[in-house]
């Protein structure tokens, strides 16, 4: 399971809700399982911290946060099951120590907090920036 954290409060009269929060509200209304709710909250917090955009995973329950660093996409995949990956498209996944690896045993995580995922995304950004130089 993902680390439990507080979810944003949805006010009926709040006209300034971000798309991410509106999406989270829909999940809340759907009555989906707690894993999905938690993954939505984690994805929202990671997106807010990194300036990324939240989208639903295509076929799995969960969300992805896409962060663009120049033309390079960094994707944090946050499944409702708790499975988490951070990848730099065209390069590979990040290990817990922030290195790029093709070994899937080293790049799939469970039970990461939003802060830990944000740190991996920021590390991915640093790597992309260093590749440009």
């Amino acid at each position: 399971m993902l680390a439990v954290a507080s979810l944003p409060t949805l006010g009926a009269g709040d006209a300034a809700l971000s798309p991410e929060v509106v999406g989270l509200g829909k999940v809340l209304q759907s009555g989906a399982g707690s894993g999905l709710l938690t993954s939505a909250g984690v994805a929202t917090r990671v997106a807010e911290a990194t300036g990324g955009t939240v989208g639903q995973l295509a076929k799995s329950e969960g969300y992805k946060v896409t962060v663009m660093e120049g033309k390079q996409a960094i994707v944090a995949r946050i499944k409702a099951s708790g499975d988490i990956r951070v990848t730099i498209a065209d390069k590979g996944g990040l290990t817990a120590s922030g290195e790029i690896s093709s070994d899937k045993a080293l790049t799939h995580f469970a039970d990461l907090s939003s802060d830990q995922i944000t740190a991996l995304v920021n590390r991915a950004r640093q790597l992309v920036q260093s590749m440009r130089h």
């Binding site: 295509a58 896409t66 990848t87 590979g92 045993a105």
Partner: protein, 111 residues
């Protein structure tokens, strides 16, 4: 190999080589999977492909193709068209959706 095992084994691997033979209606890909420092190679062929869609909203090209996840959406027994229905995710950013009559791995049919 059964389809569920195939999807599990290939997810997280890298597509090293791929060809789509329109005449033979066959999509072939060689996938390398590194797990716990053990490298496994799979030669996968989707036979008699009747549908092939590439869904991508990204700009730019990729030098490496990660087969981020593979889904068997339906087996022939469960499919309305009596075909395998398969989705391949590339980097969680693009998808290949295909239908085919059979799937083989290293020359053996997938059950």
């Amino acid at each position: 190999m059964d389809a569920e095992t195939l999807a599990k084994n290939l997810s997280g691997g890298y597509i090293e080589r791929h060809t789509f033979d329109l005449g033979a209606k066959a999509f072939t890909m060689n996938v390398s999977v590194l797990e716990n420092a053990v490298l496994s190679m799979y030669a996968v062929t989707f036979v008699s492909v009747s549908h092939f869609a590439f869904v991508d909203n990204q700009v730019g090209e990729w030098e490496r193709l990660e087969l981020t996840q593979m889904w068997i959406d339906a087996s022939p027994a469960a499919s309305g068209s009596e075909e395998w229905e398969v989705t391949l995710s590339l980097w969680d950013l693009a998808q290949v959706e295909l239908r085919c009559a059979a799937i083989s791995v290293d020359g053996e049919s997938v059950r």
